[in-house]
Symmetry: C2
Subunit: 521 residues, 2 copies
C-alpha cells in the first residue's frame, strides 16, 4: 500500500469528514490557501486587555470608528473627536432635505423622498475582495446588493470621434478585441512570430484568436453579433438580421476609449463583483454609530497634538468661539486627512511633518441629479453602469437599483483629474449643475430637460477634509510608524487610497500596534 | 445667418425644450435612433377589436400568457389550455416543499424556507436588451435586481490543467490579454504588420497594447496587478507587494478556458447588465397569472388539433381517464414544444409537420443545492457569478442575492451539452445529486459536506416539455407562418431559443397577425 497521500486526496478526506471550513483551515495550515481566500482578519485583542488604558481617536470616519469599535471591545476607553457634526467622513449619502456644506457654500438636497432616491457622494462601491469592510457588513448585518461598473449598453463618448456621437461599450469592446485578434492572427499566419511560438502553439493561438475576436473563416474581423444586431433590436429577436458594422479602427485608435475606459472593469479594485449597501453607503456609518456613536464627540476641532509623559494630549475646541479643552490619553489614532493635519500644531518629528506635508489629495468632484424619468432605462436599456465622456464630467453613473421606478438619481459627473476637478470646484454649486447638465446633454440629447434637481460635492472644498483621497498610491513610510504615542490611520496610510478598505485595514494595524505596545507597558 | 441646423443642434434644441422623450421620438422619426434604443413594443391592438372572436391558446408558458394578456385586452375571448397543473412552463422556481415531477420520478424540494432559498430551474437571467419581457416587468411592477455572470473571483477548472487546481477568472483573463498584447506588440515592433498598419497606426497600436495587456516597459507581459496580489490578500492592502506570476501560456492554450468561458460575458445575451426578478423568476409567472390566470384551464392535455370551417377545433382531455372535450375557436396560438407537438394528431400541412419534426430540443439539466453555509463568500470572496469546470456539471452558480446570510442555494450543475445532459438525465434524482456533488468537490474541496439538500431538473424528461430549448438558433420558416388558423409561438419560433424574450416576441407576432387577419374577416 502506498504510504503517502496526495495533498488533494488528503484535503478531500478532510472535506468529506468535516466540510469546506475544515479544508480551508487545513489549507491555511499547509500554506495552500491561495490568494483571495483570506477571510476578514479583524484584530483579535484579548477581552479586557485595554482596561485602564485610553485612546484618543481623531476623526469619526471609517478608520476612526473601526478603531473605536475594535479597541472598545478590548476594554480601552476611547474618545473620538470629530470636527464636523456628523460621523462617516467621506462616506456620505445625500437624501431629500440633507444639507451639504462646503467652505463657501451650503446646498440643500432637493431630491424627492424615496428609498431609491439617494446619491453616494463619497465611496459608492465595495470590491468583493475588500474583506475587512465586507466583514463588518456581514458581522453587522448590512444588506448588500450588486454595484454595476460594466454595462455593455452604456456609452463611450469623445467629442472629436465618431462625429461626436456616443458608441455603446458593447460595440467598442467587441471591435477592439476583433481587430487585435485579426492583426495577431495575420502576424502568426505570416510566420512572423515563429521564434516565440512552436508549431503546435501556433495552431492553438490561431484557434484561440478566432474565438477571442469572433473572426470569420478567413481570420478577418468583419464585426460580430457580440456588438449587437443592426436595426431596432439589439438582440436577434424573431429573425436575426445583420449585425452592426465594426467601428472604424482608425477612429477607435484615435479615441481615448482604449486608454483605460474599455478595460476599467479589469482593474483589480473595479472588477466584478462589486457590492453596495442597499439604500446608501452610509448604512455602514449607521451600523458603526449604533455601536460606537456614544464615544463620538461631535464638533470638536483638533487644535494641537502634543506629547505628554503619559502619552498624548489633544487640544480641541467646540467650533469657533467655544472654549478649548484638552484630552489626555495613553495613545492617539490620528485619521485627520494630511491636507488638514499639516496645519495643526503638533510635536511631531520633522520627518513625520515632512511626510504629512508631502501627501496631496485629489480634488475630486461628484455631482448627482434627480431626473423625472429613468430615461436611460426607458430609451436606451441602460440598467446601471457607467458612461464615459472626454468632457470634464468624465462619467455618468446610472443607478444599479430602483429599476423601472418613475424617477431616479444619477451621478452626472465624477471628476478626479486635477484640472477639471479644480475647474468644477471653483464654480458655485448652481454653475456646477449647469455645466454638468450641458456636458451630459452631449452624451444624452435632451438630458438637461429631464433633470429635476441636483447636488454637488467638491471634496477639495470640504472643511476638515480638503480633498477626496491621497494622490500617491502608497503612503510615505513615516506615516506607517507611530510618532510617539500617535498612530496614523485612514486610507492615506494604506495602499488603497480612496477605499474604505484602506481605512479599515489601517485602523486594524493601529489597533494591533497599540495592543502590542500596551502589553509591554 | 445660416439657414441650416445640424442634426445634433436640432436635437439639442428639441431636448432643451421638451426632454429626452421628445428627442427620442424625434430621432425615431428621423431614423436616427440607434440599436438598443427600441422600447418594448407590445402589440397595440385596438381596444374592443377582438370582440366576438375567440382564440384557443395552447400552453400557459410565457408565450401563451403573453398572448392571452394582449388578446384579452383587445376583447378577444381567450382560453388557455395547459397540460400540467401549473402555469409558467419552463419558468420554474423551486422552493421549500415544492414537488418537481419528471416522467419517472417525483422529487420534493427540501430547502429550508426563506426568501433567499430558491432555485430558478428554468430561465434565470434577463439580458438588458430583452425589452419585451422587461417591458412586462416594468408594466406589472416586478422588482428586479442584478444577475451576475461575470465574477473575477469565480473559478475556471480543467481536470488536466494546472495540476487539476482551479484558477481565478481574474488571473486567467488578465493573463490571456497580456500574452495576446505581448505577441502582437512583438509582431508590430518587428514590422511584421507594416502592410496592415500605417506608421502612425503602429505607434498608436503599440500604446494601445501596452494598456490593453498591462505590458512592462519592454512591452513584455510579466503579470499584472489586475490578476491580484500574491499572498493572503488579493488587493494591495496596507502595502502592495508582488502580484501573482502569470499562468503558463502553454497551459492556458491547452485549457478549454479560451474557447468561450473567458469571454462568456461578451456574448450578446450574456453581457452585462443582466437582471432577475427579486425572489425568483416565477414572479413573472405570478404577475401574468394575476391578469390572465382565470383564462387558464389546467390539466387539459391537447389530443388533436383540427381545422374547422370556423377556424380550429382543439380536442383535449383532463388527464388520463377524463372525458375528452372539444374547444372551437376562430384562431389558435400553439406554444406546445415541438418534441411534444410532433406526436399530437393534427390537420397540419406536410410542410408544417416536417418543420415540427425537425426541431430537436436540448436535454439540459440543472441541479441546485442548499448548503449550510455560504462557503463561497466566506472562504473565497465569491459573490455571485459562475465557476466553470470541464466536468459534466459544467458550471457552478453562486447566488447574486442573500449575501452574507447563513445558508444559500447554489446551482451545482447546469449542463446543456448533449452527452453529459443525457447522462445526468438518465440517472435517478439521488444519483444526479451524488454525481454533481462529487464533481463539485474537485472545484471546491469539502463541497459535498456543505450540502444540506438538492433538487434536479432534467428538462428532457419533463412531461409536455421534453427538452429545454430548441437546438437550432433559428426556427424552420414553416413555423413562422400560420397553418390554417393556427399560429405557432414560443421561443421555438424565435431566433432567441431558450429565452423568455423569444417567447414574448413570438406571442406578439402571433397576436399582431391575428389582429390583422381579424380586421380583414
Amino acid at each position: 500500500m502506498n504510504s503517502t497521500i496526495s495533498k488533494r486526496g488528503f484535503l478531500q478526506a478532510v472535506g468529506a469528514a468535516a466540510g469546506v471550513g475544515a479544508v480551508y483551515r487545513t489549507m491555511e495550515a499547509l500554506g495552500l490557501a491561495g490568494p483571495g481566500t483570506a477571510r476578514a482578519a479583524a484584530p483579535d485583542l484579548r477581552r479586557g486587555s485595554g482596561k485602564g488604558r485610553s485612546v484618543a481617536i481623531l476623526g469619526a470616519g471609517i478608520a476612526g470608528m473601526t478603531a473605536a469599535w475594535e479597541l472598545s471591545k478590548a476594554g480601552y476607553r476611547c474618545t473620538v473627536l470629530e470636527a464636523t457634526g456628523r460621523a462617516g467622513g467621506r462616506n456620505l449619502t445625500a437624501r431629500a432635505g440633507d444639507a451639504i456644506g462646503e467652505a463657501d457654500s451650503r446646498q440643500r438636497v432637493a431630491f424627492d423622498a424615496g428609498g431609491h432616491l439617494y446619491a453616494n457622494l463619497g465611496p459608492a462601491r465595495i470590491p468583493h475582495h475588500h474583506r475587512a469592510i465586507l466583514g463588518y457588513c456581514k458581522e453587522f448585518g448590512v444588506p448588500l446588493e450588486v454595484f454595476t461598473n460594466d454595462n455593455r449598453a452604456a456609452l463611450l463618448h469623445n467629442l472629436e470621434r465618431f462625429g461626436g456621437q456616443p458608441v455603446t461599450a458593447r460595440r467598442a469592446m467587441a471591435d477592439i478585441r476583433g481587430y487585435i485578434a485579426e492583426l495577431l492572427a495575420k502576424a502568426v499566419g505570416a510566420n512572423a512570430l515563429d521564434d516565440a511560438l512552436t508549431a503546435e502553439d501556433k495552431e492553438r493561438v490561431l484557434d484561440m484568436l478566432a474565438r477571442y475576436g469572433d473572426l470569420n473563416e478567413d481570420r478577418l474581423y468583419r464585426g460580430t453579433k457580440r456588438g449587437g444586431y443592426r436595426g431596432e433590436r439589439v438582440n436577434a429577436g424573431l429573425k436575426a438580421g445583420a449585425f452592426d458594422d465594426p467601428l472604424d479602427f482608425g477612429e477607435l485608435l484615435e479615441s481615448d476609449f482604449w486608454r483605460y475606459k474599455l478595460h476599467f472593469d479589469d482593474f483589480l479594485d473595479q472588477s466584478p463583483t462589486l457590492l453596495q449597501p442597499v439604500g446608501g453607503m452610509d448604512a455602514i456609518v449607521a451600523t458603526f454609530e449604533k455601536r460606537v456613536g456614544r464615544l463620538v464627540r461631535r464638533r470638536r476641532v483638533v487644535e494641537e497634538i502634543r506629547r505628554t509623559p503619559q502619552g498624548v494630549r489633544i487640544v480641541h475646541r467646540p467650533g469657533a468661539g467655544g472654549a478649548a479643552a484638552a484630552l489626555d490619553a495613553d495613545f492617539a489614532i490620528c485619521t485627520i486627512p494630511a491636507p488638514v493635519l499639516k496645519d495643526i500644531p503638533s510635536d511631531f518629528s520633522p520627518e513625520t511633518r515632512a511626510a504629512i506635508g508631502s501627501v496631496a489629495f485629489v480634488p475630486a468632484v461628484k455631482i448627482a441629479f434627480q431626473t423625472r424619468r429613468r430615461f436611460w432605462e426607458d430609451d436606451h436599456a441602460i440598467y446601471g453602469g457607467i458612461s464615459w465622456t472626454d468632457q470634464d464630467i468624465t462619467q455618468i453613473w446610472y443607478p444599479p437599483y430602483g429599476y423601472h421606478r418613475g424617477e431616479g438619481v444619477i451621478v452626472g459627473a465624477y471628476i478626479w483629474d486635477e484640472k477639471p476637478g479644480l475647474r468644477f470646484q471653483g464654480m458655485t454649486p448652481e454653475d456646477r449643475l449647469r455645466a454638468a447638465a450641458a456636458e451630459g446633454e452631449r452624451v444624452h440629447p435632451g438630458y438637461a430637460a429631464e433633470i429635476v434637481s441636483g447636488i454637488s460635492r467638491a471634496w477639495g472644498k470640504v472643511p476638515f477634509q480638503k480633498g477626496a483621497w491621497p494622490v500617491p498610491d502608497e503612503p510615505p513610510e513615516a506615516l506607517r510608524r507611530p510618532d510617539g504615542a500617535v498612530y496614523f490611520a485612514g486610507d492615506q496610510v494604506s495602499a488603497l487610497p480612496g477605499w474604505q478598505e484602506g481605512a479599515a485595514l489601517s485602523a486594524h494595524a493601529a489597533v494591533e500596534a497599540i495592543g502590542r505596545r500596551a502589553m509591554r507597558k
